[in-house]
Symmetry: D2
Subunit: 281 residues, 4 copies
């Protein structure tokens, strides 16, 4: 399905600084970028970097003098998400796991799975299927954590959210990831543009590794997961921040949009009876 | 220089379990493994895995029934560490950094550099050279943190250590890494066998990325850094644990040794006047 | 009912030090101390202090030279605990609360009720009666937190326990207190000798302020609450530690006993159907 | 010296609620309240409470319906602060301390002195005089912690501030208290109106117990300590909050003033050479 996405960001820079932006639609087998433009005003050289694993397309800007710069990104993207079927899911144990997913099994800055081991296993350990474990913990987060803008900050982690029970999409994702890892299910952070997200903003959710596929879950339940435009993935928001800022920089403005360019709209929602999922891998 | 290392580990397993061990000497341009043996009793198939970046040689064991297993590793290694010179060090800024080192710039589970930003910059921000910044923070840790066996556990992080001021080599390394990253210097965790470490054990220290090289630092100052046998590197101990255990497993015994197989012994110690370092990259 | 209690403690002192011990049976309207002896070897002057609110009988010892001292306390106590009835409980709101109980409404070192506000209110806020709220949260702790010796230390707080879900009596009490306060029910820490506690040790539980009475609850459910010998109360273990040590002191030995000196044994256990409680006030 | 203070607060209440305000000038031997008025609009019965230790004058308001209420307090106060002399200070040890000050020796919600023991003793333990210890730690806080409005919130504690190194007067006070207690010097939180504080607001600092007197210190160094109007003291901000709110209440407006009603102005500033202090006890 075709989606048009855009983001506008404005930064005020008061000393020589470097910005690493993570706002480009990922180019992958499951996502074709049909058109794309990046406008920076005033002009600054923008270097596109690919992170080691090819899971983010980073833009690095170096600003040498005090100024205000505007970044405007637009893209038309074709999304070939895959519907996954977990009715006969093979339960891949650590003994069979590919070493490339190990990093997503270990605790990270915002997902202290080591501290949530007992919590996760008490609550979800008895469920047999990994798919149903993840579905169940996603539901638990959805029903226990309140979506509350401004209730958290950039230091808030899953360990906080599991007790304080309020947060934004980033916090919902971190808690989902931490609980998966505590259950020995690899999980990673997913950022993207989301259709039907109000108010419009960058979105965050998470992928769990089930039967050799990365399957998308979203404890906020705010958007249909098959209408996303993937920006990238990482261990948590430390890897996949929209912007990493080095120097005296303040963000003055963010505007994001995601529009569907087709008439048909067939939203996919998770349902324990159907054992299906959405994957962008 | 030639070193002989060995480690013996004994685990009691009470239900089907998987162990991922990280005890092999790394094979790299700077380190040749001349002889090597791994003995597991009773016999269990051991699968050698290489992590994505080739920075650890992992051994995966799957144990299907209740038993006690002994792992015995021995190797003779030739260490070609490099002496680095920082007298004309180019200060590589984020604007020039290779994207492959970005992961070592961001906060991780045990190295919450985001929370130490002000602390690190107040204390070390005014020092011009990155080499001297790292040397200085290493000295600060050495003189302020007490080496105290048993004072910390597997959940202890740099954020704790900076206040509680006691810990073991792992904690010293985590704090060093966190402070480097807070100063926008990429840093990573290093584990290895160490000559002259008493009591003998696996050792941990850290590497800072200075002028396109990974240079070794050790705030414990317990061993000469040019007589190490590198096991591997990672973001922090979450990536580079000696053992990652999945299932009901308890460690019953660990014995480690590291012997020099030559007569000459020329220990390298850091010295602010000399601007030199040790690298195993 | 008559109980005989004793405690023996041995401390090694390596520099001039002060010990404040909190091991004496409280003298109150609900508890008569019939016989009592305190033996200190070698002899050190022991000063009995009463804390401001009369809720602890403290013994202060000053040791001026290096030595090992043994403290041996014995008492025979008559316990006149009161059975409280909550079937017609008046729900005392903050607007009617006596100012003397305010300190027990606010967060303290180990009971960060401010951080558990949402958690407590989501789980127990809809229950109408304060008695049933406390009974319900006590049951929740009992069924979710594992009693595990050695799993926590003197820095562990309710905020840790609510997620890590393991601890000892002190941790169960702190979590109970924190949840009460988060529900605007004053609560305080209670220490004492407990009959039928195995292994024998000092015990900790908590009191909630219900309808103008301090009513005892114990999430460990290890002992009958009507066979306790009260030592004292405080905001949390910071106020009511068995021993507060100033100087270089290490505890070498603790032995505690509590025996019933009567034949009849009618244990009181909480039961949601009966709406009754136990109070030592 | 005569000072005129006032505070205006406006709260929006959206369900039956109770407010406990702590804005009245304390009546004590060292402070005479010459004139005083409290206006509440619309009229709500205000009950004056005295906390157990007589260290705060609390006002309790019960609001039964949805409304916006304005509280306006004014007072003219005569301040008889005492200048204390520490040139021959007796170093009172725990062995001589009055039991009434014990609560101020133990860790509390925002002052986790137990976690700062090593930090405090490493930095200040070698200083002989308690007065100079407190002066020195006050200077350390002043030079290391940045006064930064909005950098902290109501959950921020001394354990955070010692690392994050930014905060407001409340955070400076909590860190001062925690460091004192870690050095076995009783310390407590002090709130009041402060002359020459810009922007005008309620102020917080702390008292250390030196030679049987409570002596005032202020790591913010924003105001002369002899021109304060004391509101009250407590273990930390949990005890002495300006307002404790129970129910759905939001603060809409705060305005505070403190004016000197005399011509003479002789500010007292601490000076290590003079060994003098200010006390309101």
């Amino acid at each position: 399905m075709k989606l048009e996405v855009s983001s506008e960001l404005k930064y005020r820079i008061t000393s020589p600084a470097t910005l690493i932006l993570n706002i480009h639609a990922l180019r992958s087998r499951k996502q074709t970028v049909l058109e794309e433009s990046l406008l920076i005003e005033p002009y600054v050289k923008a270097e596109e970097l690919t992170s080691e694993h090819g899971e983010n397309r980073l833009i690095r800007l170096e600003v040498l003098k005090e100024e205000e710069i505007s970044i405007s990104y637009k893209a038309v993207v074709d999304n070939f998400y895959k519907e996954t079927d977990h009715s006969n899911e093979v339960q891949v144990s650590v003994a069979q796991l590919d070493a490339s997913v190990f990093p997503y099994l270990y605790p990270s800055r915002y997902c202290q799975s080591d501290k949530l081991f007992r919590f996760a296993n008490n609550k979800f350990g008895r469920i047999k299927s990994n798919y149903l474990k993840v579905l169940s913990l996603t539901d638990w987060i959805h029903s226990h954590v309140e979506y509350l803008s401004g209730s958290t900050n950039s230091q808030t982690s899953a360990y906080d959210t599991v007790t304080e029970l309020a947060g934004v999409c980033r916090d919902f994702a971190h808690l989902g990831i931490a609980l998966c890892r505590a259950l020995t299910i690899p999980a990673r952070y997913f950022t993207g543009y989301a259709y039907k997200l109000y108010p419009q903003d960058f979105h965050a959710c998470f992928e769990a590794y089930l039967g050799n596929e990365w399957v998308l879950f979203d404890a906020t339940k705010l958007v249909p997961l098959n209408y996303l435009v993937k920006i990238g993935t990482g261990r948590d928001a430390a890897d996949s921040a929209v912007a990493s800022l080095f120097g005296n920089i303040s963000c003055e403005f963010i505007n994001v949009s995601c529009k569907l360019m087709e008439d048909a709209f067939e939203p996919f929602y998770y349902d324990a009876a159907q054992l299906k999922g959405v994957s962008y891998q």
